[in-house]
């Protein structure tokens, strides 16, 4: 689950991490009020307006702008609120439709007054799956695309692994601060910053923190200016207050709907819809579709109980996609009995009525033969298969 920048900053602040202060606004009135508060707090009329959407590269699409006075604020905030913001990470990239900006963060300009004295760093925390440890990744090259930095100048990207039992140790925070070239008050502040940041990461059961940039201000304070936070969905039971911060406006509406009925669905842009039990088999089914000359329109794991109700919901969700030219149902019945799934398919088909795309049903496992009979005798426009190879051939025949 992803948080917005402002939510991530609230989380960091709770753990005492110094952040770029700011206030959230949903409309122009709130934006003006937020600007006033920022001006009072920072003592400067300069502020930053930042679009709050779940995608990086917001500056590139015009979603992050500096304002020097109240009049500018009004103009900029009015422009960003309600805009369709296109970034390299929004659906379809810079050529796509973009994402609607529903809220903005009006924040202090952490770089003033002594802009020349500021320094930007990169810092992220995540799980290193190979090492089975959390790792802090950091670099002196802040404010840039870290993947690019890692490719061009790998020496400038450092990693520090954390012992799972002991946690982050003081010498590690010092090592990082030294490697970032800091000294004096800024060095001290950085060691504290890192310790608090790591405490927040563990405390919130995060799967990713990316602070880009972390800055050293002109007066030697260390501040998180931006932040990207992803949380471990499996740990949300420990964090009901964070779970509430899920912004479904930022998610694909079909995926949200599917999730509500217990279906694991990911929207893709192909022409063959699929409905499968089990995540691994679902991915393998998508591969089969591709190899047969089609392209998968979705990932859909119906889970362990593929009954008529779920099959019908899954059908309806897949059919909403106008690009879908065929649907492949692939169920390996283990504990789930194939004859029940077959009855579910027939019932769902009849309930929906007018299905215009061809459907391939491949049921294998417990009672597969009875299931094939049910499908074949239903009188429906359904092609049945038993072997995965047969299903692939049917896909090829229909859309290849």
């Amino acid at each position: 689950m992803n948080l917005h920048e402002y939510q991530g900053k609230e989380l960091l602040a709770k753990y005492g991490v110094a952040i770029q202060e700011g206030f959230i606004a949903h409309n122009l009135e709130e934006a003006k009020a937020a600007y006033k508060k920022v001006e009072e707090k920072s003592g400067s009329p300069v502020a930053i307006v930042k679009a709050q959407i779940h995608a990086g590269g917001r500056g590139k699409g015009g979603g992050v702008k500096l304002v020097k006075n109240a009049a500018e604020l009004e103009e900029v905030a009015g422009g960003i609120l309600g805009m369709m913001l296109k970034t390299p990470q929004t659906p379809g990239g810079l050529e796509g439709p973009g994402k609607l900006v529903r809220k903005i963060l009006v924040a202090e300009d952490s770089y003033t007054p002594e802009f020349d004295q500021c320094k930007e760093f990169y810092m992220s925390i995540m799980m290193d799956r190979a090492e089975k440890k959390n790792v802090i990744i950091y670099s002196t090259e802040g404010g840039m695309d870290i993947e690019e930095v890692a490719e061009k100048t790998p020496d400038l990207v450092h990693k520090e692994h954390i012992d799972p039992t002991l946690g982050l140790l003081p010498f590690q925070t010092r090592k990082i601060a030294f490697n970032l070239g800091l000294s004096g008050a800024a060095f001290k502040d950085m060691t504290k910053f890192i310790a608090k940041l790591y405490a927040a990461f563990v405390g919130a059961d995060a799967s990713l923190f990316e602070i880009n940039p972390v800055i050293k201000t002109g007066d030697d304070r260390i501040i998180a200016v931006d932040c990207k936070v992803s949380l471990d969905e499996n740990a949300l039971f420990r964090h009901p207050e964070l779970a509430k911060q899920r912004d479904t406006d930022e998610e694909d509406p079909t995926e949200v709907e599917a999730k509500a009925v217990g279906l694991n669905f990911v929207n893709l842009d192909g022409n063959v819809g699929c409905m499968v039990n089990g995540a691994g088999l679902a991915m393998a089914t998508m591969d089969i579709i591709k190899l047969s000359g089609g392209s998968p329109a979705n990932f859909l794991d119906v889970g362990g109980t593929a009954d008529a109700e779920r099959v019908e919901k899954a059908f309806r969700i897949i059919l909403r996609d106008e690009n879908v030219k065929a649907i492949l149902i692939n169920i390996f019945g283990g504990i789930v009995r194939c004859d029940r799934v077959a009855n579910g398919v027939v019932e769902a088909y009849k309930n929906i009525g007018d299905i215009k795309v061809p459907i391939i049903v491949r049921l294998q496992g417990t009672n597969a033969d009875i299931a094939k009979k049910i499908i074949d005798e239903s009188g429906l426009e359904v092609h049945s298969a038993v072997l995965l190879k047969e299903a692939a051939e049917l896909v090829e025949k229909l859309v290849g």
Binding site: E147, A279, D287, L388
Partner: protein, 290 residues
Amino acid sequence: MSVLVNKDSKIIVQGFTGKEGTFHAGQMIDYGTNVVGGVTPGKGGQEHIGKPVFNTVAEAVSKVGADTSIIFVPPRFAPDAIMEAADAGIKVIICITEGIPVQDMVKVKEYIEDYDCRLVGPNCPGVMTPEEAKVGIMPGFIHRKGRIGIVSRSGTLTYEAVDQVTKAGMGQSTCIGIGGDPIVGTTTKDAVELLMNDPDTDGIIMIGEIGGSMEADAAYWVKENATKPVVGFIAGQTAPKGRTMGHAGAIIGGADDTAEAKMRIMESCGIHVVQSPADIGITMANALKA
């Protein structure tokens, strides 16, 4: 022989009296698996589906000599259940539970390292040695005793592979579902190594998916140590970057953990890589003939 579990394994079920535990323990017993009891704290002394219930794993070890455990405990209590099993001296711990927080698993991994035990899972279908022991949630009837070992991160896709192997006229020595989470107890390489050293396994099927580096690690190991053919498949050739595909661990993070990259590495290490999941069984049959 076989690996991890066999007819002599003394198996207990943690979360025995719960809905999942009851159902699957029943299926395991019906298959002929040597289930010697179960653990549900507070219900010790009772009998459940014909087997004794114990309050602690330690009690089950001392009273019925349990050496293997299968865990059906909800995600927030499962990490504790794994550590309890390790501490009690259980040698093979198989955790079926899906949805354990990653940070919890990191601590569990670290904790059990000090014990002489092997964890399989979590978020896995379990381990199956046909005609000897079904320690998991897989359908028993698709398996047939034989000499092909299977390692997989998935559930139903493993059943698919098992079914193809059986239909191609072969059978399975042991099938190991290692689980779909980012952190698992037994890695692909660990499981492949077990099967490579098993005198009763003639060929190994290794089924991976997008995300992480387990298949690449296993492939490099195979390159140096293979004494029998390995057939490999990676699910998720069409998966988009950065999206979790059902399994918590199935997410492409960079250029190295796509299906294409993994298949390339496996191929270069001498593994028979299949592009289509429909060709797993036939490819194994051909590899054995060569």
